[in-house]
Symmetry: C2
Subunit: 246 residues, 2 copies
DNA sequence: ATCCTGCTTTGACCCAGATCAATCAGTAGA
DNA sequence: TCTACTGATTGATCTGGGTCAAAGCAGGAT
């Protein structure tokens, strides 16, 4: 397996997620306190970060790479319940056990904080608690959007929705407002199926269908080119236009 | 329609949700400040509290009754994304528009806070922000559980899951640990369908099936008796036993 | 009483997506 | 170069839940 061993940042000031993670609002002195309780951990693609039910004595931010939260039923049915991209936060202050499996789906670097000290800082440093609240509210919104996808969308709409979610969060998209773009798909077909409540065969078929219909083009299995983002959003069944007035 | 006009509480000290809502951790002096920016609103069953997209100049706690958050696609497909029972919180500090329809499904009393002053209090009163963070994390957990239901469970499991969720949150359940219990179903078949990503016909059929199999008994359409809660949990496909050791 | 009107139940049929199975395409190792 | 794997694609068939349609069943209102 290809090992891209990305070195963790030397210190917070040149951290790539400095301005979007839990620490985003911290002042330099607060950052210094955080720095004392933090440490980096790296995982290879496929490794499990924590198993559901295990004790989890840290909370963490994703620095680089992609991780997933999944729930599994006794008979093996699996549902992804969280997709963690850089700057996303894992773990819950004030809880000991992990409620979900956390898995690295690509090579992954996490910035971990020892739980106890972090919890104490939450009480003394409002900037951390404020930012965490904001991020949690954003995640709740995302989860609710996802519930609409799971409960009411067709397989084709589900795939289109997932692609547009990933496209929207891709750094190259944030920097441009073109109609067309190209991005990496960080998930296997199986992981996409777990995300969308489908089987991997259906995922594959629907991706082929979108390709056939010219909505997307594949460059290798894992790189997606979208010639017209509006067409993709249309397929996703979302209230497409953000309503630009005349 | 039957009008049960429940009078709102006179002041916070005899409010039924005093110890479980956003204000749960407030000290008497903090409560006094909150009291200055609060007002009650009542809705009849079926009324809309706010429409998705509308301006929402308040945040609120449910005092009594049940409300839902729903998303609707252009073609009319609907998905419930939140079920609000007494003490639950609606609205997001720092956002003007409502992202979902909020609807009273039974007669409803809400304790509303004017948004601006509430936002200011969030910054000055850590007890409010802390409690809101805790509640939001709980909701996120619930949303993720719900995602497993929507994505991977069968219709029968979905119904059993919903019934056990409602049973668990029913006040009479919290006060007893018997195997059997009886509770009111606050939702129509259609609302249950919107919750579970099903059609109302399927909901009706599966309820009949659970009844036929002796998992539940109906006393009128809206009152459910569960002779053995463990059987219901089994049907829900949840990791049933909380693991009582030998 | 009887007629609404808004739920709910039940039946008959159909289809989107699951299941089962074979094949293909890269990449890694020997 | 050949082999072994892991992931992806495609085909054939089956089925759970959707769709369409017709009753049933309260509570109010007339």
């Amino acid at each position: 397996m290809l090992k891209t061993n990305i070195a963790p940042p030397q210190d917070c000031s040149d951290c790539p997620i400095r301005h979007s993670a839990v620490c985003a609002r911290c002042e330099p002195d607060e950052l210094k306190l955080l720095e004392e309780v933090k440490y980096y951990r790296s995982f290879e693609a496929g490794q499990t970060v924590v198993w559901s039910g295990d004790k989890m004595d840290f909370v963490a931010s994703v620095v680089s790479g992609v991780a997933t939260l999944t729930q599994t039923m006794e008979d093996g049915r699996r549902q992804m319940v969280g997709l963690l991209l850089p700057s996303d936060f894992v773990g819950r202050p004030g809880r000991h056990g992990a409620p979900y499996d956390v898995t690295a789906v690509s090579d992954l670097v996490m910035c971990c904080f020892r739980k106890r000290p972090f919890e104490r800082m939450m009480e003394t440093t409002p900037h951390i608690a404020q930012r965490l609240l904001e991020m949690t509210l954003d995640e709740l919104d995302a989860a609710r959007e996802w519930m609409l996808v799971l409960g009411r969308k067709t397989a084709r709409e589900k795939i289109a929705s997932l692609l547009s979610i990933i496209a929207r969060r891709d750094p190259v998209f944030s920097n441009s407002d073109q109609r067309s773009l190209t991005f990496n798909l960080p998930l296997t077909r199986e992981a996409m199926a777990d995300y969308l409540g489908l089987t991997l065969e259906t995922v594959s078929r629907q991706i082929s269908a979108l390709k056939r219909d010219g909505i997307i083009r594949l460059e290798g299995k894992r790189r997606v080119h979208v010639p017209d983002l509006d067409l993709l959003l249309e397929e996703a069944g979302d209230d497409s236009d953000g309503g630009l007035p005349s």
